[in-house]
């Protein structure tokens, strides 16, 4: 039975590392040549650096190829052909799909995909879903707005591709989505961690249904790091009585990483479709060993219309060289995506990653899922305040909870906070990507 097969591709996913590297080198040469010959933007970047396709002979030569940053992508969009600019490698007639980035870090980037690229997106997601236990017998409910953001479009098409039945929960409101899941007996779901927690809350408190009884067995998350934050994952799993899996992807890149069923405390990189490198943020040195964090430089090895070659994703990751019990040889990144270079900020001289605060808040019983962090300046001193919600029935425990919160925050982030308690429901709610971290020092 095909459903018993643990791997979407039993050959690629178990290929010895040296063969995977050989495959990556072969594919890199090919996508680099394609990009050099077809993208005016890349051609001028490479000409300026004095590098041509024939210079890529060994793996180490890849490191001489200039890195592309998102800010460069925004500039080239002003050029022809509209609206993609001069990195488009196929005639406009061959573009079949428009998507754009959410603009979380600035002006959105427009992304063109050909029909082949779009099927490649679904293919990369097929690796993810199969590894997370999705099978043709699953009925997958997708509570997503089906808009210009790529998010779960690719998950939808991949679920179809692997043989699942897909229920597009597009324009329904949250309560209607919950009732539809109940009516159809859906077995799997995809969403952002913020929305999955909010949906569970709505089911319980507005619809009067315990979400854990709905029969959802697995949830695949994207868009935020929450599913790799242990306390957030635990809250989702307890609320839905389901396994929660993380995956990482981006509009300009593709779906490049995923948790497998064995959940080894990290995510596999799809080394057959992507070349992931980690660069030291300070020195630019490439990091191959475990235990050192850096930013990800990534190449999508088969994406053609708007190639992604040595793209600076600004995701902070680190290698885990321990083998995974699932048998995949695809490399692991420890703890998933640990944050973004843009988000990691210095407060009173200490490097702070907002994800660490989320892990503390959601590990404490008596606190709600929502929180807000505000960093500001009082004179020459940085201030940091944390707003949390107290769950009903915990009013008498507020002192104990505050002590616990202060202690854990000090331990995990090495900072002291001003803490504000709010009633449940008073902090802002988010449907897609949450903005819970505000650094007012950066406001002009």
């Amino acid at each position: 039975m095909i459903s018993e097969q643990p791997y979407w591709n039993p050959v690629l996913e178990t290929l010895p590392l040296e063969k995977l590297y050989a495959l990556q080198l072969k594919k890199f040469k090919s996508i680099f040549r394609w990009t050099y010959e077809n993208s005016r933007f890349h051609r001028s970047l490479y000409d300026e650096a004095g590098i041509t396709p024939s210079d890529i002979r060994e793996f180490k030569d890849i490191r001489h190829v200039p890195i592309v940053e998102k800010s460069m992508m925004r500039c080239i969009q002003c050029k022809d052909p509209y609206p993609y600019g001069d990195c488009l490698c196929v005639p406009l007639e061959e573009v079949s799909n428009f998507r754009q980035t959410s603009g979380t870090t600035g002006q959105p980037v427009y992304q063109a995909d050909s029909m082949q690229d779009w099927d490649w997106w679904a293919e990369s997601w097929a690796f993810i879903l199969w590894a997370q236990g999705y099978r043709p017998s699953d009925r997958v409910f997708i509570p997503f707005g089906y808009n210009i953001f790529v998010a779960f479009w690719a998950g939808h098409y991949a679920a179809e591709k692997i043989g699942c039945e897909v229920v597009p929960g597009g324009v329904l409101d949250t309560q209607s989505r919950i009732l539809k899941i109940q009516e159809l007996k859906a077995t799997a779901m995809m969403g952002t961690p913020t929305y999955m927690l909010g949906m569970a809350d709505t089911a319980k408190n507005k619809v009067g249904i315990d979400p854990g009884t709905l029969g959802i067995r697995r949830i695949t998350c994207a868009g935020e790091p929450g599913a790799s934050v242990p306390a957030t994952k635990k809250r989702m799993e307890e609320a839905w009585n389901a396994k929660v899996f993380d995956h990482a992807g981006a509009t300009e890149i593709g779906a490049w990483s995923y948790e497998c069923l064995d959940q080894p405390g990290g995510m596999h990189v799809n080394d057959a479709l992507f070349l992931v490198e980690i660069e030291d943020i300070e020195t630019g040195e490439i990091i191959d060993e475990p235990g050192r964090r850096g930013k990800m430089i990534i190449t999508a090895l088969d994406r053609m219309a708007m190639p992604c070659v040595r793209f600076d994703s600004k995701d902070v990751i680190e290698w885990d060289t321990n083998p995974c019990s699932c048998g995949r040889t695809f490399r692991l990144i420890k703890g998933g995506v640990l944050g973004r270079v843009d988000d990691i900020t210095k407060v009173r001289g200490v490097l702070l990653s907002p994800v660490a605060i989320e892990d503390v808040v959601r590990s404490i019983d008596g606190l709600g899922d929502e929180y807000e962090v505000v960093v500001d300046k009082l004179g020459e001193t940085d201030t940091i305040s944390l707003k949390v919600e107290l769950l009903p029935g915990n009013e008498n425990n507020a002192g104990r909870i505050e002590d616990q919160l202060r202690h854990q925050l000090r331990l995990k982030t090495n900072l002291a906070y001003s803490i504000e308690f709010h009633d449940l429901g008073k902090l802002p709610r988010y449907e897609v990507k949450a903005r819970r971290f505000k650094d007012l020092r950066k406001t002009p």
Binding site: P10, V11, E18, K19, A22, K26, M115, W120, E123
Partner: protein, 61 residues
């Protein structure tokens, strides 16, 4: 332990489909339904190549 798939044989079949789809595409220049559906077949062929053909004959440098 399941038997390893014969990648060469799989690739042979993929290349046959590719040739047939390319021929259909050429014949469909005045026949949109043939041309566009052949294009879709070629997209699927590309995914098969990514999964199979790209590692056939791969040598470690």
């Amino acid at each position: 332990m399941t038997a390893q798939p014969d990648m060469e044989k799989l690739d042979e079949q993929i290349q046959r489909i590719k040739q047939a789809a390319l021929a259909l595409s050429e014949m469909g220049d005045q026949f949109p339904a043939v041309k566009r559906n052949a294009a879709r077949v070629l997209v699927s062929v590309k995914m098969l190549e990514i999964n199979v053909s790209d590692i056939v004959g791969l040598t470690i440098p």
